[in-house]
């Protein structure tokens, strides 16, 4: 440090003397104060992560709660329209079956649970052999949830459509399958699909043609209480295939392109939806009997016709109330169906005439007729030897008019 040797030696000596002095140390309190200050300086940095973590957790929790609330609200909003269009007494299953089930199933739809249960009864009942096979009914019952039900209309419909082609059971022909029927008539498919039939048969055809709309209305409305048994009866009623055009129609249907089928189905669905949303007052204007007729017609009509007419209405008319009024009026004015006595064979053609319009009328169901006319038709079936068909028609008649008195000559056709 110091260049001078004497000074350096003196400095070393003094340094040694200094080191022998008492080694003072800071007091523990002083140390604690200094260390505390040092930690306190770091304190805010440490506290910040804790605070941030707490805030983050709270934010995440709030976000999760908000999201779940939103999802729940959305779900509720999506679920609300269902009960609005479907009656509470028969919420989803009815809606599910309406587009997919057969007229027979629709006939027994009022007692909701009877779809699955009466199958054994149907088998045990005096039903023709070519009555409804159970498989399609199972398919119809397959959808479980509301969403699946809604979406399954098309899917199940397509499936049933295919089943119908394969099994040749018009019972399972969906209401949305109008075109094969159109082709079977020999008319121009597109013309028939969008316009009423030719003039001579026009009133009746139009009247019946528009029924599916009302039928769909009624099907989405609360179903009236029905007798417990007749679930199988409509199956019997629709089971025979007396119409020669039915089988011919299938190739025509198969020739239909997918867009055409979809368009027809969409038209029918749209009309059905509009009708379902129509005010109840419009339906009330038709009168109680007309409502019964409509309901019965909706059940009794072969699904092909219902589908075709729904599609036809979808393209031809926009005024639902006017349609309903016209339909009712036309039906009242239309002459009763005059089917000729049919052969007894279940596979035989229609008993009345070979004309397309006449057979069509039968296929469309006698529910459109007045009660006495319907009973006359039943007698004709009986007299023609087709007792099974007569019984089925009589059961359908009883379902439609449960308070009507069955004539004595027809009581033998009733089940014991």
């Amino acid at each position: 440090v110091i260049s001078d040797e004497r000074e350096r030696r003196l400095l070393d000596e003094l340094a040694q003397a200094y080191r022998r002095l008492p080694r003072d140390e800071p007091a523990p309190e002083l140390d604690a104060a200094v260390l505390a200050k040092a930690r306190a300086a770091l304190g805010p940095r440490r506290a910040l992560p804790r605070w941030g973590a707490g805030l983050g957790m709270a934010a995440v929790l709030a976000l999760a709660v908000g999201l779940s609330w939103q999802v729940r609200q959305r779900d509720e909003a999506q679920m609300r329209p269902l009960p609005a269009t479907v009656p509470a007494a028969e919420p989803v299953p009815a809606l599910r079956r309406v587009p997919a089930t057969t007229p027979a199933a629709s006939g027994g739809r009022a007692e909701d649970g009877a779809i699955a249960a009466p199958k054994p009864e149907a088998a045990a009942a005096p039903v023709p052999d070519d009555a409804v096979p159970p498989e399609p009914t199972k398919e119809i019952e397959a959808p479980a949830g509301p969403a699946a039900d809604l979406e399954s209309n098309t899917v199940v419909g397509s499936r049933i459509k295919r089943t119908n082609v394969e099994t040749a059971h018009p019972v399972f022909t969906l209401e949305r399958e109008p075109l094969p029927r159109v082709r079977a008539t020999g008319d121009e498919p597109t013309a028939e699909a969008v316009a009423p039939p030719p003039a001579p048969r026009e009133p009746a055809s139009v009247a019946v043609a528009e029924e599916p709309v009302e039928a769909l209305i009624l099907e989405s409305a609360p179903a009236p209480a029905a007798p417990p048994a007749p679930a199988a009866a409509p199956i019997v009623r629709d089971a025979p295939e007396p119409f020669p055009g039915a089988d011919e129609s299938r190739p025509g249907r198969d020739r239909m392109s997918a867009p055409e089928l979809d368009a027809a189905e969409e038209a029918a669905g749209t009309r059905a939806g509009e009708a379902a949303a129509a005010p109840g007052a419009e339906r009330e204007d038709l009168g109680a009997l007309a409502g019964q007729r409509e309901r019965a017609a909706a059940r009794e009509l072969p699904p092909e016709d219902r589908q075709r007419r729904a599609a036809t209405l979808g393209g031809a008319s926009t005024d639902q109330k006017k349609d309903a009024d016209d339909r009712d009026g036309l039906r009242r004015q239309s002459p009763p169906a005059q089917p000729a006595p049919a052969p007894a064979a279940t596979s035989a053609p229609a008993p009345s005439t070979g004309v397309v319009g006449a057979s069509e009328r039968k296929r469309e169901g006698y529910a459109a007729l007045a009660p006495d006319e319907w009973l006359a038709e039943i007698r004709r079936w009986r007299d023609a030897g087709d007792v099974a068909r007569a019984r089925a028609e009589l059961r359908a008649f009883r379902r439609t008019y449960p308070d009507a008195t069955i004539p004595r000559d027809l009581r033998d056709l009733l089940p014991p």
């Binding site: 440090v1 003196l10 003397a17 200094y18 080191r19 002095l21 800071p26 200094v34 040092a38 770091l42």
Partner: protein, 183 residues
């Protein structure tokens, strides 16, 4: 593991938020700094107050700390500045005349050396008294050399003066001490 790190590394670690690094650093420098300040100021209360202030400044300056110099030098520099401020508030510094007088006394005869004349106990007591009587700059230079074992350059860096000034202050300090220790 923490003890193996240098002072500079510990200070940087503390600047990053490692409290234990500061504890290690404090443990290394607490005694020398405390004694340096205590013997420089002579007043324990003031020395402890300034001692706390030194560490407070270290803590506050942790974010700006750059390991370009030794930590001990930086620490003593803070202490020096605080003590200078304290002395300036207390009394005027020693004049150049007093320093010259001390230098003249350095050339005392050898037989008058304190270690040869006084007992060891007496020597320690006199040394303490002689240190207290030294002017602050001289005492500080002596303490930085004897207590903290700094060289002329480091003392100059701590005190903020030139190397020759430090050398002069040391000479004055030695002369006065020898004078005080001589019976």
């Amino acid at each position: 593991m923490t003890a193996e790190r240098t002072d500079e590394e510990l200070m940087l670690a503390y600047a990053r938020g490692e409290a234990r690094a500061f504890e290690s650093l404090y443990g290394r420098h607490r005694g020398p700094l405390y004694r340096f300040m205590l013997r420089t100021i002579h007043d324990r209360a003031v020395a402890e107050e300034l001692y706390q202030e030194v560490w407070s400044r270290v803590v506050a300056a942790r974010g700006r700390y750059q390991p370009s110099a030794r930590f001990s030098t930086w620490l003593l520099q803070i202490a020096h500045n605080l003590m200078i401020d304290h002395f300036r508030r207390q009394r005027p510094q020693a004049g150049a005349d007093e320093a010259a007088l001390v230098l003249e006394q350095l050339d005392a005869p050898e037989h008058e050396r304190p270690e040869q004349r006084l007992s060891e106990f007496e020597q320690r007591r006199r040394l303490q008294l002689a240190l207290e009587e030294l002017p602050p700059e001289q005492r500080e230079a002596f303490l930085l050399r004897a207590e903290n074992e700094l060289g002329l350059e480091e003392i100059a860096e701590v005190t903020g003066v030139g190397r020759e000034t430090v050398k002069s202050r040391l000479r004055y300090a030695l002369a006065k001490l020898r004078e005080r220790l001589t019976p």
